[in-house]
């Protein structure tokens, strides 16, 4: 076990734009808005920041994408990309810089501008290929989880579709109460069940929102946190697992789990000292890119026993005032998914809930000590990078 960075780094300020189809804002606009909100949240002057990391899948390149709109004063800025986990990756790099002593105050920013390309849904950008990759969209990739899960656990496909719809309904119900969310309308079982098919068995209501947005965090060494705020959020554990892609070769991989999720959770729990996640975690923000992804995540992260996640869905375990609230801000489903921003948006909800600033979607009973989890996934179920982060309001 590595020594880790538990309790070495604290978040002192965060910001997040409303996620939306921002036809009249550029990526630069969104970066400026998220960064300046974060400066204000931390009560600092931007000149105090000595290093930045910027996460974006493809809205721009290099550190200049951030330094130019923010007019940063010749500080190191690095653009990082780790698929849909790019925002979490930027945060991880900023934390490590502070934990190592190389940096006193670092900022992580995530951004994505998806709505300028003229397509609905995500558009892949790759290098040269031999043209043999199967035609398989992101929703179809994650749709593969559904029939496999239902088949393995004897869930009738119609019942399965109802369970997936319940996940969408929960996230939308939370998003309704979130002024920063992209979609603020409750959805019904009927509208989920009858939404146009995108990748069978997934309809449009099983898919996350495609949006533009940005989010940011400023971190300092834990011992300095109280200079800036009375309510810092301490980083308890950060883990990324990049898989060898076994799922595409290995018939033993049965598409009812994402192995990278399991590994990232193990690492993060070990660093944070979590032994019983279902009992200990106060709230979680997970990567619900598509409804079956969230179902599988419950089991991968140890919130539900294997094969029992669907029962927990029906029992309301993960609803806003349930035993373990998941995606209280609406999740990717309702808050929207501007790729590079999503990882930081998830941390922003932990920040907001733990400061009891979540308004009508405030979780009433947050387990003590307050521990929040964010889970961010980039890639496909059979080959991806998965991130798990744990944050707490108390040291120790």
């Amino acid at each position: 076990m590595t020594r880790g960075i538990r309790d070495k780094v604290a978040i002192i300020g965060m910001g997040c734009t409303k996620f939306s189809e921002w036809w009249d804002k550029s990526a630069s606009d969104l970066l400026v808005e998220a960064a300046f909100e974060t400066y204000e949240s931390a009560g600092i002057d931007p000149s105090q920041i000595d290093a930045c990391w910027l996460g974006t899948l493809g809205s721009g390149e290099s550190g200049l994408m951030l330094s130019e709109p923010l007019k940063l004063d010749y500080v190191p800025v690095t653009r990082v990309e780790n698929f849909c986990a790019s925002g979490s990756e930027a945060f991880r790099q900023a934390c490590y810089a502070v934990a190592s002593g190389a940096s006193d105050m670092a900022m992580a920013v995530g951004v994505e501008k998806l709505k300028d390309n003229g397509y609905s849904g995500l558009v892949g950008r790759g290098g040269d290929t031999d043209g043999t990759e199967p035609a398989i969209s992101a929703p179809a990739s994650f749709a593969l989880l559904a029939p496999a899960y239902f088949h393995k656990y004897g869930v009738d496909p119609e019942k399965g579709k109802e369970i997936l719809s319940r996940i969408a309904m929960k996230n939308h119900a939370n998003g309704v109460m979130n002024p920063r969310a992209q979609y603020r309308r409750a959805v019904t079982m009927e509208s989920c069940q009858t939404s146009p098919m995108v990748a069978a068995p997934l309809g449009i209501m099983d898919c996350s929102g495609v949006s533009d947005g940005a989010a940011a965090a400023i971190v300092v060494r834990a011992e300095d946190a109280h200079k800036y705020t009375d309510n810092p959020l301490y980083v308890k554990g950060l883990a990324v697992a990049a898989g060898p892609g076994e799922g595409q070769f290995d018939p033993e991989y049965d598409f009812t789990t994402v192995r990278e999720n399991v590994r990232a959770a193990e690492l993060a729990y070990a660093e944070a000292g979590i032994t019983d996640p279902r009992a200990q975690i106060s709230m979680a923000e997970v990567h619900d890119c598509f409804t079956p992804t969230e179902l599988v995540i419950y089991e991968d992260l140890g919130f539900s026993e294997r094969g029992k996640g669907w029962k927990d869905v029906l029992d309301g375990t993960f609803e806003l005032q349930g035993a373990l609230p998941v995606n209280p801000d609406g999740g990717l489903k309702s808050f929207g998914h501007p790729i590079g921003a999503s990882g930081l948006r998830m941390i922003f909800e932990c920040w907001t809930q733990f400061r009891r600033e979540a308004g009508e979607r405030q979780i009433k009973k947050l387990k003590k000590p307050m521990l929040g989890l964010t889970h961010n996934l980039g890639g496909r179920p059979w080959k991806c990078v998965a991130f798990v982060g744990i944050y707490g309001t108390e040291l120790g």
Binding site: L144, A200, P201
Partner: protein, 468 residues
């Protein structure tokens, strides 16, 4: 003795009922249905499918040549024989040639193969595929069909020996399609009957009978790959109606260069030792070949007979869908980025993977994997791999989705995870499959298809399909 040592046909799964066309234009006409290549098939993929069928019983090895006959070659410049040879995983020490630009290409390629084997080649694959364009609402569109066929010519274990053959070359403009033309055109039918096959067929029959000493009454079946109405010409040449082979017009259509070969395969599959079969090919002259079926025919069975393939079908394709597949309708493209041109160096590096569906098998732990890997996913050993073929392995469907979003001429594109008997997995698209035909655990087989064309380059790869 030289002759046919293996054979196999290929009829695509999809059919267009001719009444569908007539419904659209408010006309009456030909009954029955025609075979149509899927949106992801072309002349070369159909030739590969027929060749795999011919090679399926494993009797033939060490082919010395591939002759591909087509009037609709996937490329105007660049042969497809090499693609076919690569898909069949043949040695590179072979001769290849494309026989093209005439309906007679199939029979002409056969005669060339006889010469090659006579000159010492061990065996030569003659394969054909065509998907000829007929103008919308016209007679050609209704009568044409798409198909493939394959015959292997050799000198050992001959199923049907060559008794003799003859050719006549006559320059005539009766059926033609120029560079850039989008449809086949024809001169007056009566002129064709008088001076097209009306002239060539009697002359080639005379020549082949003179050479072999065989007479019309000795022939069990005469194969003349034209519509039954035109086949009537044979009756004036001394043949009885019962000798005339089924033109397959009603179920398949007239398939162009492969048609004489497909009809021959169909007849061979129903023939018995001692039968004499006369094969005619027509186009700017004619070819005639007489075969004598040998006792070895009793031991030969391709994986799928022409009759099996004709019976295995989907025939509810609408006329508009057919036009869309052929890109003869100005349909709205998918609202997704168009595929970019595949990289030729990338394609070359992966040729064995992509065309013959090889992966690798770790010699340290024995685990098969696709595509070929350097480091084993199972035991993590480096570079202890040997090539491992998946093409002929049967597969089982583990999970799937119907993708309405990805770029496709025929959504939804079925995506499937296939686990092979003996180990290994592939994630691929499925061909000729509708969502309601899928169940987890069902068996599938692999079929070479065209993924897309971009920058004038065709990208070919394997898809899974329900077992036909």
């Amino acid at each position: 003795m030289i002759g046919i040592i293996a054979c196999g046909g290929y009829v695509p799964y999809n059919r267009l009922q001719r009444s569908e066309i007539q419904k659209e234009f408010g006309t009456n006409g030909l009954k029955g249905e025609r075979a149509i290549a899927g949106f992801d098939e072309d002349s070369a993929t159909m030739a590969v499918a027929a060749s795999l069928n011919a090679l399926s019983n494993g009797a033939v090895r060490d082919l010395a040549g591939v002759y591909f006959a087509t009037t609709t070659s996937p490329y105007a410049e660049k042969q497809s024989d090499t693609l076919i040879a690569a898909a069949l995983d043949l040695s590179d020490q072979i001769r290849t040639a494309e026989f093209t630009n005439t309906l007679r290409a199939g029979t002409t390629a056969l005669r060339a193969a006889f010469d090659s084997v006579t000159a010492g080649a061990s065996s030569v694959l003659v394969t054909a595929g065509d998907m000829r364009p007929g103008g919308a609402s016209g007679q050609n569109e209704a009568t044409f069909g798409d198909a493939g066929a394959a015959l292997i010519i050799g000198s050992e274990n001959v199923l049907a020996s060559v008794v003799g053959s003859a050719s006549i070359a006559l320059d005539i403009v009766d059926t033609w399609r120029n560079q850039g033309d989008t449809m086949v055109r024809n001169w007056d039918e009566r002129y064709q009957m008088a001076y097209g096959y009306g002239e060539a067929i009697p002359r080639v029959l005379k020549a082949v009978f003179e050479e072999t000493g065989v007479k019309a009454e000795d022939i069990s079946k005469v194969i003349f790959p034209v519509a039954p109405k035109a086949q009537a010409l044979l009756l004036k040449q001394g043949f009885e109606r019962g000798q005339v082979a089924d033109s397959l017009l009603n179920d398949v259509g007239l398939t162009g260069a492969p048609h004489p070969l497909l009809m021959l395969v169909n007849e061979l599959e129903q023939s018995s030792a001692g039968d004499k079969i006369l094969l005619l090919g027509y186009g700017e002259g004619a070819d005639a070949i007489i075969f004598e079926v040998r006792p070895e025919i009793a031991n030969f069975k391709p994986r799928r007979s022409v009759a099996d393939l004709v019976a295995s079908k989907r025939n509810d394709i609408t006329y508009a869908t057919y036009l869309k597949w052929r890109q003869r309708l100005d349909t709205e493209p998918p609202r997704r980025p168009e595929p970019s041109r595949p990289s030729s160096p990338f394609m070359r590096r992966r040729a064995k993977n992509n065309l013959a569906l090889y992966g690798s098998r770790c010699t340290a732990c024995g685990t098969p994997q696709f595509p070929a890997q350097r480091v084993c996913y199972k035991c993590r050993k480096r570079d202890e791999m040997e090539p491992y073929g998946f093409r002929d392995k049967s597969g089982r469907l583990t999970t799937w989705s119907a993708d309405y979003l990805s770029y496709s001429l025929s959504p939804p594109e079925i995506v499937a995870v296939i686990d092979f008997e003996g180990g290994g997995r592939i994630m691929c698209n499925m061909a000729d499959t509708r969502p309601e035909q899928i169940e987890i655990g069902q068996n599938v087989e692999m079929t070479l298809r065209k993924m897309f064309t971009a920058g004038g380059i065709h990208s070919y790869f394997w898809k899974a399909q329900n077992i036909r």
